[in-house]
């Protein structure tokens, strides 16, 4: 790959893979520097349900993460949850400001699942009046009724929804559009209507014995369990289906007492549509999984289920990857059961739309144009699973954003400006992944196996701060690295010589760093004698931004009795110290200012001298211990560069001893460093 211009600079793979293009690279970096509020802002710029998505996301970002080729991908989803936990967003501790209604048009949204909530949120924030109609007594759609508390506690969901509604959205629950309120009324009352009703109806299957007592559909069972209503279940349960809903039903029933739960599905284990991690959790919790079996008939006895007869499924998909199962009728199996739950897919009941002139297809689905998000009725739009089919919640959120933009464009009589796909950077070459510093992923602590089945308590317990910081440090900061300002490049070859990864190359007489391989450390930028290199990620580390020091006079006045000490602190080293985190800063004198840097080796001499110019009397730089540097050669380069800066400080009469470097290890603490600096 050879990309010479910023216009087609590749995106980090996490962001390109995210349906809402969350800038995960950026929020992970902000977490690594303990800048949690800023991290939440980055998350929420793309996603109004951060606490929910931090728990249940299918995280395509992690599947795309290039750290995966080093050892394991970054736990991006866990880190999102950590921010919402840490700041109390998921407890409703952050109050959202209402956005005044500034536009004289209003929109009705049918359904309060992720797509409906997102579209409503986008439109309300633009000043439109928005009313959500929800069929159930409580909002959330499948987030509430399809996902059980052990994955997503209802209070967490409610907190995210409350924050969305607080923007100024009206919510009308327990209103069944089509039955209690005629759809035409909505069209008459509102300027636009969005159908985001989801797939709330479980499909049945024409199977012998399906009418027997003890046969249930998945969604009503999940709804009942979620609402705490009693469900009549036996002790020997078979769940038919291999998707996430089937897994959710199976895991839920295991929590309802000492019941045997078997999942039976057509697919082979590696073809199952449910997420691997969900299947593994289910197995840990004692759910038996039986793959490659198709139900043939439900065996009854006295009007009730007695068992299920299967035949072997030899192949689920045909050559064109269409669902077309084939069976070996000779291989059969019978399992005893007193309860059977069908989790073989969901649909929606939309016949009420026809009366209002919204066309349906022959298969009963909305006649829908994905390009415009419109139905056949000019004022009626649709979004979410009702039109996309089943998928991840984050996909429904993306679709909600798109619908909101379609509606706003329609109401404003302009062309919609939809999110454009990003081009992700290519795979990390093995030459680079092979030399990367390796550190295992931090897995989130989980409820002990033997406690899980006793309640619906959340299984994933959240990260400690140390977990989160160390996990966030693992990020490779893909494509956030060096960019050459070509007219300034003096072709000195310094970058080619100093890069720990051998990335820079000369193209003609100009240096070039391929974003495919650059690790964003910034070493080349600070060494470049022409200062012709900028590092996309780290330009934010300027002193005034992080410390508020921007005027010598003001600073002199404020600190006339306590001179300011500025510490440049390595993003990677700081958690290795004895006091671990910047929390320690709370106990430090208020004249100490920290500037978080990715690696101190990216500080040019002028960056350090500016700290003195900006009012610091003393400066310290933490580097990692002798046996560790995230970027291999950063420690030595930093030490040598500090010597150069000291020579300038000596010459200027300031004294080179005012600049100190501290290797951080388990025995050093920031508090001790500051104390030593002051004595």
């Amino acid at each position: 790959m050879n990309i010479k211009t910023l216009a087609n600079w590749p995106a980090p793979p996490c962001q390109a893979a995210c349906p809402v293009q969350t800038d995960a690279r950026r929020y992970v970096a902000l977490i690594a520097q303990e800048r949690y509020e800023e991290a939440l802002d980055v998350i929420m710029a793309a996603n109004p349900l951060p606490s929910v998505i931090g728990r249940i996301c299918a995280h395509p970002c992690e599947q795309a993460c290039r750290r995966g080729s080093v050892e394991e991908p970054i736990a991006i989803c866990h880190l999102k949850r950590f921010v919402t936990d840490k700041l109390g967003y998921s407890d409703g501790k952050i109050k959202v400001k209402q956005v005044p209604k500034t536009k004289n048009k209003s929109i009705a949204v049918i359904g309060s699942g992720p797509s409906g909530l997102t579209a409503a949120h986008d439109l309300a924030r633009q000043g439109y009046g928005v009313t959500i109609y929800e069929k159930h007594p409580l909002p959330g759609g499948m987030l509430r009724y399809g996902i059980l508390d052990y994955r997503l506690p209802p209070e967490v969901l409610q907190s995210d929804i409350d924050s969305i509604l607080a923007v100024g959205i009206k919510l009308k629950c327990a209103v069944d559009i089509g039955r209690e309120v005629d759809f035409q009324e909505l069209i008459n009352e509102y300027d636009a209507v969005l159908i985001a009703a989801g797939l709330a109806v479980s499909r049945s299957v024409p199977l012998a014995g399906v009418d027997l007592g003890g046969v249930h559909l998945a969604v009503p069972v999940l709804e009942a369990i979620n609402e705490g209503r009693p469900v009549e279940l036996g002790n020997d349960v078979i769940v038919i289906g291999g998707g996430n809903v089937a897994v959710d039903v199976a895991r839920s029933i295991r929590r309802l007492g000492d019941k045997t739960v078997k999942m039976v599905c057509l697919e082979a284990r590696d073809e199952m549509p449910a997420h691997d991690w969900e299947i593994e959790d289910a197995m840990t919790e004692g759910v038996e999984i039986h793959c490659s079996w198709g139900p043939d008939k439900i065996v009854g006895e006295g009007g009730r289920v007695a068992g299920l007869e299967f035949k072997e499924c030899t192949c689920v998909f045909d050559e064109e990857r269409r669902f077309n199962p084939r069976f070996d009728e000779s291989k059969r199996n019978i399992m005893g059961a007193d309860t059977i739950i069908l989790a073989i897919g969901q649909g929606s009941e939309l016949s009420f739309l026809k009366r209002a002139g919204v066309k349906l297809t022959d298969r009963g689905q909305i006649d829908f144009d994905r390009a415009t998000m419109r139905t056949s009725h000019p004022e009626v739009f649709a979004a979410g699973e009702v039109v996309t089919g089943p998928g991840a919640a984050i996909g429904a959120i993306a679709n909600g954003h798109r619908a909101a933009e379609a509606i706003a464009a329609y109401l404003e009589e302009r062309e919609p400006a939809y999110q454009q796909d990003l081009t992700p950077v290519g795979e990390l070459p093995t030459a680079i992944s092979g030399v990367m510093w390796k550190t295992p992923r931090r897995w989130m602590p989980r409820l002990e196996d033997d406690k899980r089945l006793k309640s619906f308590s959340e299984v994933e317990l959240g990260y400690s701060e140390e977990d989160a910081l160390r996990e966030a440090q693992r990020c490779l900061a893909c494509t956030a690295g060096a960019v050459v300002d070509e007219p300034k490049c003096a072709a000195c070859l310094t970058c080619v010589r100093v890069c720990p990864y051998g990335v820079p190359e000369m193209i003609g007489d100009k240096a070039y760093m391929d974003p495919l391989t650059c690790q964003s450390c910034g070493i080349c930028a600070s060494e470049c004698p022409a200062q012709a290199i900028t590092v996309k990620m780290t330009t934010e580390h300027l002193l005034p931004l992080q410390t508020g020091i921007d005027s010598i006079e003001a600073e002199d006045e404020r600190t006339s009795k306590s001179p300011v000490t500025v510490g440049f602190v390595c993003q990677f080293g700081h958690v290795w110290g004895a006091d671990r985190t910047f929390d320690a800063a709370g106990n430090l004198p208020d004249n100490v200012r920290f500037v978080r840097v990715l690696c101190p080796a990216r500080l040019a001499p002028a960056d350090i001298l500016r700290a003195f110019e900006d009012g610091a009397e003393r400066v310290f730089v933490t580097i990692c211990g002798p046996n560790f540097c995230h970027y291999k050669t950063g420690n030595g380069l930093t030490e040598r560069r500090l010597d150069y800066v000291r020579s300038i400080l000596d010459g200027a009469g300031i004294g080179g001893d005012k600049l100190v470097s501290y290797p951080i290890d388990q025995n050093t603490s920031l508090a001790k460093i500051v104390e030593e600096m002051s004595s």
Binding site: P529, A530, Q531, A606
Partner: protein, 236 residues
């Protein structure tokens, strides 16, 4: 390239002590590549000067300008207004650039920020070695590509002298004896016989001894030289 190094900052502080408005001008050519007067070093110098002034409570305004190549009239001309407004200029170009500024703005004090050392190149990152003495009459063809003018302390043309010890120069054990290198190189090439004839005394007039040197390519000149104009007049 021309290799230079930064003057000790204390010396530049002394040179600039009496000036209230300074402009420090870096150069984007040779001295950038040898880490003496590029943007990185020039910014650091300016910051050092500001810190010193503040410590001594001297009010002074110091700005930094970068220039593509200070040894070209067209490149330095756009600095005109800024230089006019300054009390003094610190140039972090080589001695050539300093003199170009001084020539162009003769009423202004133009101070050198660097010590210009030699023509040479980096033998490793951060280490530069002198290679060429600019003698005006190259002998490298006879010496295996090792310059005795620049690399022998005595610039001997028939070396080595008696001070060559174990391949090192008697001036310092860190300096290779150029004639040892010449011998080794020619031996490697099977050309030791080249050393047999005595090199005659060198004509040093094309070197510095002939006074300030000038290279003229008449075919490149845009204005006709005076002499030509005069002779045409007399012919006509």
């Amino acid at each position: 390239m021309i290799v230079a190094s930064q003057k000790p900052i204390a010396e530049i502080i002394e040179l600039t002590r009496d000036h209230k408005k300074l402009i420090v001008i870096g150069c984007g050519a040779c001295v950038t590549v040898c880490f003496a007067g590029g943007e990185r070093e020039t910014q650091a110098l300016a910051l050092g000067l500001r810190l010193a002034a503040r410590r001594e409570k001297r009010p002074v305004e110091i700005t930094v300008e970068m220039n593509v190549r200070q040894c070209e009239w067209e490149f330095i001309e756009p600095l005109s207004e800024k230089i006019a407004a300054a009390d003094a200029v610190v140039s972090t170009a080589c001695g050539v650039g300093v003199q170009f500024l001084a020539e162009r703005w003769p009423d202004k004090r133009i101070l050198p920020g660097l010590n210009t050392s030699f023509m040479g190149g980096p033998i490793e990152q951060g280490v530069w070695l002198e290679n060429c003495g600019g003698c005006g009459n190259c002998v490298l063809a006879d010496t295996g590509g090792v310059c005795p003018v620049a690399r022998c302390a005595k610039s001997m043309l028939n070396g080595p002298c008696g001070g060559s010890q174990n391949g090192k120069c008697e001036v310092s054990k860190d300096i290779d004896c150029a004639w040892q290198l010449i011998y080794d190189r020619l031996k490697l090439q099977g050309r030791l016989d080249q050393l047999t004839p005595l090199a005659p005394p060198k004509d040093w007039t094309p070197a510095r001894d002939g006074g300030q040197r000038k290279v003229v390519r008449e075919d490149l000149r845009l204005a006709a030289p005076e002499s030509e104009v005069e002779s045409r007049k007399s012919e006509g």
